[in-house]
């Protein structure tokens, strides 16, 4: 490696060949080997000599006063080490992502079914379970506040949070609201300008993230009085920020290390068992592991907001949109979680990727005694997309137009304005994406004579042989923001270290990014390879010893932490080149790192990196902030609120058995602009996964809540798509660079979840002629037996 003989342009060209494992390539996941061997340590795999098992007692009532809690019998169970209630919390009793309104353990009242009241630590999960059953709680059960009508009339039905304990941004039982008016708003004069007006009310059920890896982690008390937590989360630093005051510890004594994460999709943005495990570890002085069972997981994390929406659209005879009038009511449940930001998204993205001269919008999130809702993939844009895309189909039918043409006619493109007044300053190929899905070949028609009954809805149980099947095709497009919005100083930190190991230059990347399955670790290595011209990259475990990476959500991690890795790697590269200039007196301006060497376009190879580095490591940390945004004006919704927009279009082909009311999605096509595909294999995987969650919302997934009580907290009753329910998902990836983003990239993960649901519903409507104003679409909606 110490030779310096390679000289000249030709050789330089050879080594300039970009590494197939750099950006734009699809190297394999660095954690893939461990994962297929079963050796990857997920948070539920954590184990410690002498550890205890923690478990929570949860409320069976959605709304009740707690008259007394008696833990004495529970404490007597052999093998029980501690039983805690809110009285035992050493610090602040409340936490929350945006509003500190959630008690770590219920105080005097419970506000939702499943709220944690007390904690047990025991030597075996079964011991803990038995002890939890022995805790006696006396309740005064109250009528839960669960409907919009009840929530909006607190004088009659009561407050979820009493006004004197009010911590919300809103008033009454309104947690947050956002209005928006653009153009002339929606007045009688504006209405009169439209030749056709269509309206509808739409409803979205409560969807669950249903990540497979249960909430879990291991809290280990440390000798310095602090605590080490090994945890599956989406954002280590925001967990710590919420935990430390409750544990009465300074932040630096609460050290979090990311344990393997089995999916997240927004459901790990809030705390679940973090504080509970730490409280038990603090009390017992022993390591405590908590692993939720599936039912507890349904109770222990926030869900996607169910929504009720009213939409009215007016258009000219030739299909140009004139106005949109929208009202979106999101049920936020008992605690605020991310509701304020979800409302902001619903209000600002709720018109879809269309140019609409006059808009009026009102979005609110309610406090209720239903389960808390917060972040889930698509974050406020999903619900609205079902509303506006249903409207587009209705309008097309009213005008006798092709639904894709109507959308294309009104599609926004670069340079257009959002209803928030923000100009779209990067490509917005909405019409083109629609064209692309439309132009993709259709699957062959159903061949009833040569039917594999496994491909027919319901036929496996021999209830049909395909007689009542009608095929439908539907289209949709959606818009989603990338990154945190409305003035949030969103940033990420990365540390990159370059040193010689075993005679080779090796880069180490250290960030606090939560790898939740999305593939960020692969991309970080690709970026380091590309910027530093090295092959070997190691990824340091994510922990709180480096600055915050922000959340693995909002499709932001490749943009934000990827951007930080790029900045840090560039800084390391400059430092190395500087070192060379000092040592060798190089005067060339065009020096860079390629193939393990310092090279210059004009002078060829200058020196191998190992020679220049010697025993010295270069270790630099950089922060990446995105350009600033501002909060939306409360009344008008105006403002540069979002950093970047992303778009996806879908075509769904469905077979509907109109007798049984069963739907089989035959194919779900997607076209998405990703700006730049840093890892094409991962990009496609993200789009397919996002489409599948959208399919779930369209036809099967819903947490059934009756009178505030959850009725289906299990994988037996909460259905997520299986491989039999999921069709082929051809993906067409477009790469139009965003000049404002690192490498021109665009966040990928959420847009397909926003857009794909309406296409499936549109296809079912086309097949059946039924209006379908509620998702998930159930058999009874299709057979008229509701």
């Amino acid at each position: 490696m110490s030779t310096r003989t390679i000289q000249g342009q030709k050789n330089l060209q050879d080594i300039r060949q970009s590494s197939p494992d750099g950006i734009g390539g699809s190297p394999l996941r660095p954690d893939g080997n461990l994962k297929v061997k079963g050796e990857f340590a997920y948070s539920s795999d954590m184990w410690h000599e002498d550890m205890l098992w923690g478990m929570a007692l949860r409320s069976p009532h959605p709304r009740a006063n707690i008259l007394s809690v008696d833990i004495s019998e529970a404490l007597k169970v052999p093998g029980v080490y501690a039983v805690l209630t809110h009285d035992d919390i050493p610090g602040s009793k409340f936490y929350g992502l945006e509003i500190q309104d959630q008690p770590a353990l219920a105080i005097d009242k419970v506000r939702y079914h499943g709220e944690a009241i007390a904690l047990v630590a025991a030597d075996h999960p079964e011991t803990a379970r038995r002890a939890v059953k022995k805790i006696k709680v006396e309740y005064e059960v109250l009528t839960p506040i669960v409907t919009e009508e009840q929530c909006l009339n607190p004088e009659v039905h009561g407050y979820v949070h009493e006004p004197h304990e009010y911590k919300s941004h809103g008033y009454g039982n309104i947690c947050h609201e956002q209005k928006l008016v653009s153009g002339l708003g929606v007045t009688d004069e504006v209405r009169a300008m439209a030749d056709v007006i269509v309206s509808g009310t739409y409803e979205v059920g409560m969807q669950d993230q249903a990540f497979l890896g249960p909430e879990s982690g291991l809290a280990v008390p440390a000798e310095d009085g602090g605590i080490d937590l090994y945890i599956a989360t989406q954002w280590l630093h925001v967990d710590r920020q919420q935990m430390a005051p409750v544990l009465a510890l300074p932040e630096e004594k609460v050290r979090l290390t990311l344990a393997g994460v089995g999916g997240a999709f927004g459901g790990r943005e809030d705390l679940s068992m973090q504080i509970h495990a730490c409280l038990l570890a603090q009390r017992t002085g022993k390591p405590v592991k908590i692993v939720y069972a599936r039912d507890e997981s349904f109770f222990g994390h926030v869900h996607r907001h169910p929504a009720k929406m009213f939409y009215e659209h007016g258009a000219t005879r030739d299909g140009k949109l004139v106005f949109a009038d929208c009202r979106i009511v999101l049920d936020g449940g008992a605690y605020a979680s991310a509701s304020p930001a979800v409302v902001g998204n619903a209000a600002s993205l709720g018109h879809g990727p269309y140019v609409i001269p006059n808009v009026k919008m009102h979005a609110i999130a309610l406090y209720s005694n239903n389960p808390s809702c917060g972040a889930m993939r698509g974050f406020g844009a999903v619900q609205a997309a079902f509303g506006y895309e249903s409207q587009m189909d209705k309008l097309a039918a009213e005008l006798g137009m092709d639904p894709v043409e109507l959308r294309q006619l009104n599609a926004m493109s670069e340079g257009d304005y959002m209803p928030t007044g923000q100009q779209i300053d990067s490509p917005a190929p909405v019409a083109e994406l629609l064209q692309r899905v439309k132009d993709m070949p259709l699957p062959p028609p159903l061949d009833l004579d040569n039917l594999d009954i496994r491909t027919v809805p319901g036929a496996l149980s021999n209830t049909s042989h395909g007689e009542g099947i009608v095929r439908g095709i539907g289209y949709s497009v959606g818009i989603k923001n990338v990154g945190f919005s409305e003035g949030f100083d969103d940033y990420s930190t990365a540390r990159v270290r370059l040193e010689v190991i075993g005679g080779e230059p090796v880069a180490m990347v250290h960030t606090a990014m939560a790898e939740v399955g999305q593939g960020g670790v692969t991309v970080h290595a690709q970026i380091a390879r590309t910027e530093l011209g090295v092959e070997q990259v190691t990824i340091h475990p994510a922990n709180t010893e480096v600055g915050s990476a922000g959340s693995t959500s909002a499709s932001r991690q490749t943009y934000m932490t990827g951007g930080a890795v790029k900045l840090a790697a560039e800084a390391v590269k400059q430092a190395l080149i500087e070192k060379g200039r000092r040592r060798y007196g190089w005067t060339e301006k065009d020096i860079t790192l390629v193939g393990g060497k310092v090279v210059s376009e004009s002078a060829g190879v200058l020196v191998p990196m190992v020679d220049l580095l010697g025993d010295e490591a270069i270790d630099l940390t950089r922060e990446h902030h995105h350009r600033p945004t501002v909060p939306f004006d409360k009344e008008t919704g105006q403002g540069f609120g979002h950093v970047q927009y992303t778009f996806c279009a879908n075509r769904a082909v469905v077979d509907v058995d109109i007798e049984l009311g069963l739907v089989k999605v035959v194919e779900l096509t997607a076209a998405q602009d990703v700006g730049k595909a840093l890892n094409p294999l991962s990009v496609v995987g993200q789009i397919q996964g996002g489409c599948t969650q959208a399919l779930g919302l369209a036809v099967m997934e819903e947490i059934i809540v009756k009178d505030g009580k959850v009725r289906n907290a299990s994988f037996t009753d909460y259905l997520i798509p299986t491989i039999l329910d999921t069709p082929p998902i051809p993906v067409d990836v477009l790469e139009l660079p965003d000049p404002n983003a690192p490498y021109g990239l665009r966040g990928v993960g959420e847009a397909p979840t926003v857009s794909a649901t309406p296409s499936i519903v549109a296809a079912i409507r086309q097949a059946t002629g039924i209006a379908l104003n509620r998702i998930p679409v159930r058999p009874e909606h299709l057979t008229g037996t509701l």
Partner: protein, 161 residues
């Protein structure tokens, strides 16, 4: 109680096993084989799939006492003695079928079993065979690719190519 059985060809024993414990719990918490995953513990997701005497089962549904004297093979046992990945494991990596990977161990065992029975399954065969294994991340497309790839490699190997 004490339970003794073979795990991946090696004899193992677990003491003080409570009667209600599942095979999954014993594997994960008592004998140091956490590869099989605990996503539902109700037989609904397939993440915990292992071979029991050569047949794939949900280990969360098998009571620990039932495996007394029997043979269990887990995802850890798909790797050979030298740590070389099995054909199905490699195919899942190569096809990009692993995202969060929590479903992966169960899918690997189930796929391995499918290809043992039918080296060249049709797409509908694959979907039917894997319909008990939930994956929340991938949308299953890359899992289909992985199984097809494993099948192709297996057939190529079988025919001596």
């Amino acid at each position: 109680m004490r339970v003794t059985f073979t795990a991946n060809g090696k004899p193992v024993e677990a003491d003080d096993v409570w009667e209600g414990e599942s095979l999954l719990y014993v594997l994960r918490e008592r004998v140091g084989l956490p590869g099989s995953k605990n996503a539902c513990e109700q037989g609904e997701c397939g993440s915990c799939t292992v071979y029991l005497d050569g047949t794939p089962v949900c280990s969360c549904l098998v009571a620990a006492g039932q495996v007394q004297g029997r043979e269990v093979r887990t995802v850890e046992g798909l790797t050979d003695e030298n740590g070389e990945l099995g054909l199905v494991q490699q195919a899942f990596i190569d096809a990009g079928a692993v995202q969060c990977g929590f479903c992966t161990p169960g899918l690997l065992v189930q796929t391995d079993a499918l290809l043992e029975q039918e080296a060249q399954p049709s797409d509908n065969d694959i979907r039917e065979a894997l319909s008990g294994n939930l994956c929340r991340c991938t949308g299953y497309e890359k899992i289909m690719d992985a199984v097809r790839l494993a099948s192709a490699r297996k057939c190529a190997k079988g025919s001596g190519e």
